[in-house]
Symmetry: C2
Subunit: 458 residues, 2 copies
């Protein structure tokens, strides 16, 4: 039997295994799920071991753990590759918007629904299954492979940089491939040339010491929700331009060539609006929506909170109002400098009737831009072209994978996105799903990638 | 024994009874406490009956019930008075900010702490105890008395207007006194000449159909929290002026005499800031803080809600952001017209990239301004002067008692605030308390009020 036959034969078992994996509610953002993240890590260790990968072990960090494993018997003449993914997931709230419960995976048509189905449980399982098939049918892998899976990607991988720094020997490789990411669509692969960076923060505005009666104190003390609204309005204009002094200063402006490359990627605004349900697109003026999505920085309110949020009326003048914010950054914006600019803006614009505090939230990533002519990128592109029968689009994407910038810093390697999700699979939203045909296709792609890197023709 | 001796003798029992009353979590805003509101109503019925008041019964409305009772044997030559109060309370969240649990009343020093201690359980018990003492010691009351207690004041009494309209015979009186309200401070009584009106609403802004990944869609679709911030910022200027077109149009401007009367009431800005913990006062420019608090309208955000509010970072681009808002109104602003102006403002300022919906929340009240030379006001003022040994301040207050405007409409009577809370007793906030000395003082005041209205000299 060939590895391809093996994959076909075992596909229904693989789908059942993915279901078990999704059932573990490994939500890294919620302290009450910390043990579930660990359970998911142990699931990954067991799955790697069952596939024939060696040295699968859990490693502690200050937060959620890491899982590393390897198979290093391909010899010194072939490269060593590091494959990255994550076994934690986003919170699934609001539960009531899910068609089927987020942690009870359900197959409808050729899709599997559940939190983490695509981001990243389904996608990170793909290379493990490819390795299992190769080991089962050929007794070896064509290249040396290290696996590096983490449990805190969805909170911005705060404890990964020190872990990587202390475990460089365990991660040493010639190339890095990320099994977290996506292809352009089911017909067309993509090679990602850029990822946005990230800074995450919270603005907390405080008026009175405690919540007050809005009738007795309205007109006497400031409303922190109102002050927060003024602060947020002062940071981004209604037209979408970010109005924080210095915010755009360090950006490497898009060249004519960059903009042409982005314009070559197909874009259907009507389809985008139908997909998102938004009444109109909205982004920085002077750039196309595609440019804003992929190559311009953003300032997004992820959450607002103040006072009474239950049913009906509570005539309270709240003590506190807060906003959670993440900015996506592009080369060469620096997450710390952007945080400082925001803190300075809030400081300069906070009225005397309230106090405002700006604090960092977990999660930072440097923006990531692939060098021209990068070898692993070229090979990954060839494999994708073979498998899809179509040349990949060269794209930049709006997401951030913080660990990629740390691996670049520490190993000097630009990671290549080689992952088989799609952007429309409700990542971070209700009804997240993964396409089962691409689950299978990705397995082939990873097997061929390993073969090609090891010099095996297939 | 005189009624005063009776009150002294039974005070410790009264305090225990108040504790039992507070233990009932009659939170009218929370559907899960609906039965507790009913239990509190039954408690009031039993307590009225124990005091010797007759016909104490529960009456249904479309929402929480009403309790009415009477004692009508004083004869046709003395007036009939209606005494109003409410047995529902505000939600007690956030529980963790209470020194002792909100529904486990605790006496510290000469204060009783608990949700509803002052607003309005302690204060509404006062006239019942005065009546009990008079009935116990004299066998009768000097005036005919009706009691009218409701269970939905804290959600704006939405079902009271139809109830009052259908039960006018049960409420018919010559004068109305409210046992919900407060005195100026422990030394100084007040006669309230004005109450603010109220309109309550919610603004809901929707961008995309569901929550999206902020990295994949930031820069593509609008953030509803950002759009809400712009809307809120457009409705009230940073200087405190409300900038909704037409908002101030119908106001009866304060005369020089009105402003002089307000200025005569003592005001200590440093003490106010120390009490509230606010770093500075904040209100409509051109008016003193005292004027803003008592005689100018307000626009207050009672709650903000959007996206992720848990710990840490969730990189979500929320689908929805909403604000709960109440405006306090002054004569002659109309709650429906103000709602319409706000809805029109939102409609005119909502950007095309989101949709915005403005809906009414329960709670409306017309502003209330006492006519000069009102008889019940004059007599209440004399009793307060006797009991406190000090002439009452003539004030306007920022709170709203919606039922007062309905009683004015339906019975043609301006209710007189005759209540013994104080504005610093953490109404609607953690650590609400009631002063036990004023609990006792109020009982004397109500007994004397009834005597004076009945022509008994004491």
């Amino acid at each position: 039997m060939t590895w391809a036959d093996y994959l076909d034969t075992h596909q229904s078992r693989f789908i059942e295994e993915l279901c078990s994996f999704i059932r573990i509610p490994s939500v890294s953002a919620k302290p009450e799920n910390a043990n579930d993240v660990r359970v998911a890590g142990q699931w990954v260790i067991d799955r790697l071991t069952a596939a024939g990968i060696e040295n699968a072990k859990m490693y502690e960090t200050a937060g959620h753990p890491v899982v590393c494993a390897d198979w290093l018997h391909a010899g010194p003449d072939v490269p060593t590759i590091l494959i990255y993914g994550h076994f934690d997931v986003q919170p699934a709230e609001p539960f009531e918007l899910w068609t089927s419960p987020p942690f009870e995976p359900t197959i409808r048509g050729d899709r599997i629904y559940g939190r983490g189905a695509t981001d990243d449980k389904g996608a990170m399982l793909v290379p493990i299954l490819a390795a299992e098939a190769l080991l089962a049918e050929t007794g070896r892998l064509p290249v040396n492979v290290r696996f590096f899976f983490e449990g805190q990607e969805e909170i911005g991988s705060p404890d990964l940089p020190p872990f990587i720094e202390k475990n460089l020997d365990r991660l040493q490789a010639d190339m890095v491939f990320s099994a977290d990411g996506s292809q352009w669509d089911t017909e067309t692969p993509q090679i990602v040339l850029g990822l946005k960076g990230l800074t995450s923060l919270e603005i907390k505005v405080t008026g009175a010491r405690s919540d007050l009666h809005s009738g007795m104190h309205g007109g006497g003390v400031a409303n922190p929700g109102q002050a927060l609204a003024h602060l947020l309005a002062s940071m981004k204009a209604p037209d979408g331009r970010i109005t924080i002094a210095g915010f755009y200063d360090d950006i490497v402006e898009l060249t004519k060539e960059d903009r042409d490359a982005i314009a070559r990627v197909p874009w259907d605004e009507a389809a985008y609006l139908a997909e998102t349900g938004a009444p109109a697109t909205h982004g920085e003026p002077g750039y196309s929506t595609r440019e804003n999505l992929s190559a311009r920085p953003t300032f997004e309110i992820n959450g607002l909170s103040s006072g009474w949020q239950g049913e009906g009326t509570k005539t309270v003048l709240p003590s506190v109002a807060s906003a959670k914010i993440t900015c996506r950054l592009v080369a060469n914006q620096n997450p710390e400098r952007i945080f400082d600019l925001i803190a300075a803006h809030v400081d300069a614009h906070c009225p005397p009737s309230v106090t405002a505090e700006v604090s960092k939230n977990p999660g930072r990533a440097d923006p990531f831009l692939m060098p021209a002519g990068h070898n692993a990128t070229a090979i990954a592109g060839q494999v994708l072209e073979e498998v899809y029968g179509k040349e990949p689009y060269k794209t930049r994407v709006g997401g951030s994978i913080p660990v990629m910038s740390t691996l670049l810093d520490q190993l000097g390697l630009h990671g290549v996105m080689f992952a088989f999700g799609h952007a429309d699979e409700n990542q971070h939203a209700p009804d997240e799903f993964f396409r089962l045909p691409t689950f299978r296709l990705g397995q082939t792609a990873y097997a061929r990638l390993m073969e090609r890197l090891g010099g095996v023709s297939s």
